[in-house]
Symmetry: C2
Subunit: 565 residues, 2 copies
């Protein structure tokens, strides 16, 4: 396999890690403008603004850096611009909407980066759909030119795709004929499961380099509207007004600012305000220690809005998201993420009650949806996930979801000798029974207790109580409860064992065991589609020296192993 031990190529501008934090004033590729209740997201990629050395972002092609800006803009539409009801995605370049993921970037990226790049771009597109489905902000994609590969996949995330009918503008998924890979950012799944394109039409479309345009694109359900060039601008504006008028978004008049996170990257840790990440490099463990709130919740919804990004649940969610992404893309050697917490579980529950009391407030809704997405990101992180519930911890309500997201949890039974911290307790809240579905559509507890609905009901009846280790284990909420005598050894042996296993096999195991029960379009993207793409990303026909990805643009034809597998 070509790149098993290949180092990551160098980041541009001497950077040493990929940063997921940005803000509109620093965007190099996207421009976010707001006009009343309509926003425009203009893609105008800076060719020289690539994340890594070694390639240019021609023809509005993208790399992870471009998508980090898009993801940031989407969050700002949620939190900073609650009055926006429709957003138009379009290109700032003539005759090209977007050429998709940059091929040179892909050809030179390590397998681990490719896979995690695709995961992130998928999450961003799911976030756009979540924005429409749950926040009422509708997305129109206006394509005046070619939308190829990832460019069309971006369009597929929109509610409404408009294509200019000029005899040349087309949508296409040319990955297979051009590069011998799949459209990997949800394209195949959205074509078949969202757009519901007939499978033989989809087969034709995905094997035709030049794609489909005009009436056929409409007839085959690939786009929602084709419009002559002369009428395109007016039609896009009219459609944006229509969607904004039909939107049921009822955000406040005034948003909150997503201020910059305060972080400090050190050699073996990252310090945030509400959590820290400690790296045990030889043990290949990252320990995320979440800190409970220092204060009780604000007195009113207005006071919450006044706190803005400093409101503890929101700040913690943003910092956790950043911490997880940092591990995913910058710390490939971490085998397991251990979640710990420290704080007063009663105070955490006070925040749950506050959020429940203001559940119809736009900001509370957005915070809960944000937590939902962060927790989904945790579920989809291909590292072993472990929660250690120790004396002094505060895994209550939303924080307890981390234990249920984990592959295993260990809970400390009683007190530690010579330690006066209160015995570990966990507490369930309404938040554990609804607002945070996994990609499979079930809550984490619903997935956990899929065998017997009575177990779920039993847990539900225990809401708002502090549950000690014995009770938590009886209820099936933790994997093992261990006392002071066994704790250190059992946990150490488990983590050492985990680090000794093949990382790939663990990735596959966890990708299966974490998602019992039904599948949704979203889970199909991350399993069926992604797993096949990951396989193809290992095959010589794409990534080998004679493979299509390596030979693209060289003038040499790829050489394929012709055996079907």
């Amino acid at each position: 396999m070509a790149d098993a031990h290949a180092p990551e190529r160098p980041l541009a501008n001497g950077q040493t890690r990929i940063d997921f934090q940005t803000e509109p004033s620093r965007y190099r590729h996207w421009k976010l403008t707001i006009d009343g209740d309509i926003a425009t997201l203009l893609l105008d990629v800076d060719e020289k603004g690539a994340l890594f050395d070694g390639y240019e972002l021609k023809l509005n092609s993208y790399d992870l850096g471009v998508d980090i800006e898009l993801a940031d803009a989407i969050e700002r539409l949620r939190f900073e611009h609650p009055q926006v009801r429709a957003v138009v995605l379009r290109s700032g370049k003539p005759r090209v909407f977007c050429a998709g993921a940059n091929i040179r970037m892909l050809a030179g990226a390590s397998h681990a980066h490719k896979v995690n790049f695709c995961k992130f771009t998928n999450e961003t597109r799911n976030g756009i759909e979540d924005l429409s489905a749950n926040s009422g902000l509708k997305t129109i994609c206006a394509i005046n030119g070619t939308a190829a590969g990832g460019g069309y996949e971006l369009a597929l995330a929109a509610d409404h795709i408009m294509l200019v009918d000029d005899g040349s503008s087309a949508v296409s998924l040319p990955e297979l004929p051009l590069l011998a890979v799949l459209p990997g950012t949800g394209g195949l799944t959205r074509v078949s499961d969202k757009r519901k394109v007939r499978r033989d039409h989809a087969d034709f479309f995905c094997t035709t380099e030049e794609g489909v345009k005009g009436k056929r694109a409409l007839d085959w359900r690939l786009v929602d509207e084709v419009v002559p060039g002369s009428k395109f601008e007016d039609a896009v504006a009219a459609r944006a007004r229509d969607f904004a008028a039909a939107s049921r978004r009822d955000g406040g008049a005034q948003g909150i600012r997503l201020t910059q996170l305060t972080r400090s990257f050190r050699e073996h840790s990252v310090e945030y305000e509400t959590l820290s990440v400690e790296f045990d490099r030889s043990g290949r463990i990252a320990t995320v220690v979440l800190r409970g709130p220092a204060e009780m919740p604000p007195a009113s919804a207005d006071a919450m809005v006044a706190q803005g990004a400093a409101f503890w649940p929101l700040k913690l969610a943003r910092e956790l998201d950043d911490a997880i992404l940092n591990i995913r893309l910058n710390e490939f050697d971490v085998a397991a993420i251990v979640f710990k917490s420290f704080g007063d579980p009663g105070r955490v529950m006070a925040y749950e009650h506050f959020l429940d009391a203001h559940t119809d407030h736009w900001l509370v809704r957005e915070i809960r949806h944000f937590w939902k997405r962060v927790l989904k990101r945790v579920d989809l992180t291909s590292r072993s996930l472990v929660t250690l519930i120790e004396p002094g911890s505060c895994f209550a309500g939303t924080l307890a979801e981390l234990a249920f997201a984990s592959d295993r949890s260990y809970m400390f039974l009683g007190r530690r000798e010579g330690d006066n911290k209160p015995p570990a307790a966990i507490a369930l809240a309404d938040a554990n029974f609804g607002p945070y579905p996994m990609a499979n559509g079930l809550t984490r507890l619903g997935s956990r207790f899929i065998a017997d609905a009575a177990d779920l009901e039993q847990a539900k009846a225990e809401r708002h109580r502090m549950l000690d280790a014995e009770r938590a284990q009886k209820l099936g909420l933790v994997t093992f409860a261990l006392d002071d005598i066994d704790w250190d050894d059992e946990v150490r042996v488990f983590l050492e064992e985990r680090a000794s296993f093949s990382p790939d096999a663990l990735t596959g195991l966890e990708a299966n065991l974490r998602f019992a029960g039904p599948e949704t379009m979203e889970s199909k993207i991350f399993a069926r589609l992604t797993a096949w793409q990951n396989w193809i990303f290992q095959r010589p026909n794409s990534v080998g020296e004679e493979g299509a990805l390596k030979r693209y643009g060289t003038g040499q034809q790829p050489v394929f192993d012709t055996r079907r597998v």
Copy 2:
């Protein structure tokens, strides 16, 4: 990648291809005995009876040859022994039930063989579950010893798992800790989705080499019953009687014999009685030409039983199944399978009417279920599937499913110049709207018309009519209708193009586009689980020279790339 161009290892005994036909008198590994309404399938693997040279089948481990016998036995229980209501799966060896797929076999097999071996064993296990769900023949797995890996996965296909409680007998899925691969024959999916084992218990179980035994195995839902050794035989016998008594199987008193297929393997073709397969080796195409029935259907159900395996729908299904398996496992270089047919569509429809008229007859039910499984096998065959509907063809009813299973279909419009064959027509029957669900639980037409139920209704309204190319295209039943002027060129260009694409990318594309809509446990096995396993089967941590699969049993520890992907 280690084995990209590795040739298959030599077959044992100088054989030149893997043969899927066998019969009980030739079994080397299984023994099928019948006692009233209870059958026993005894696994007693002949160590020297491996399919390939280079390994021995120790400890009741298996290779494809062992599973071909099992699949054969299951079919015979359906057709030859309709009076059997329960079957006990057990081992003929002391202290070991089954050690799973043979590791030496896996370590030396090509990627293409490994993947297709797993696909076949999965289909066999799905067939066991289909036998229970749809034919009422219940399966009890009696484990007196260790059931490891594929051994436990075989047990997972049963309705009831009994484990002897002797302090050492255990069930386990040690693939990850031992071999750095997944349990690949449905194990993870059945643990989470069929047995509904809690995910953290499943995580523990699947990472613990020695597995789980006794009470914990029961508490964790891994088995249904643990029984002390002294009472095991009685308990198994009693349980078999219970299940037989509760079975609703109402097969006839007398089965039919599944006689040997009459086949002739030639250099560039295989000739069966109801079909032929022609290989265009340079074009990498296999053309399957199905022949319509020579006679009208028999006059009565009794006459059908008298025909037995010669009854045209059954014979065709068996021959098609064999032909598909032959291509899958012996003809890796075939890029596309082209289905053609020749015969009187009216006579094919007469058979549909006959089957519909006797839909409650046990043999008709079994034949329809057999066709269901053969068609699922077609869906899951990783070759491009194309149906060419030409003048003189007979794609009616069940045969039309092949067109709907295909990635594309082309239908000839009008007559060929200088040819007096009747213009192509297709016809729909009740069989196209229910009895042949795909792995996703939908019919092929239901999947095809997933965008709009009205399209499905419109097609349904056209049942029992001969539909010409124009009408068929209007109804959305075929991809393209082409006349004599375009036909040859369009079809040729398409097939050449298909053969020019990366086989892997096509495999991934088709695995996504063929299965729109819902997922089931079965489809999760073939997509989520299998796709991840295929990926792992390409990773150096398992198949590399220092990988776990290669180093197993050498005394050397595997060396892993520690990066998580």
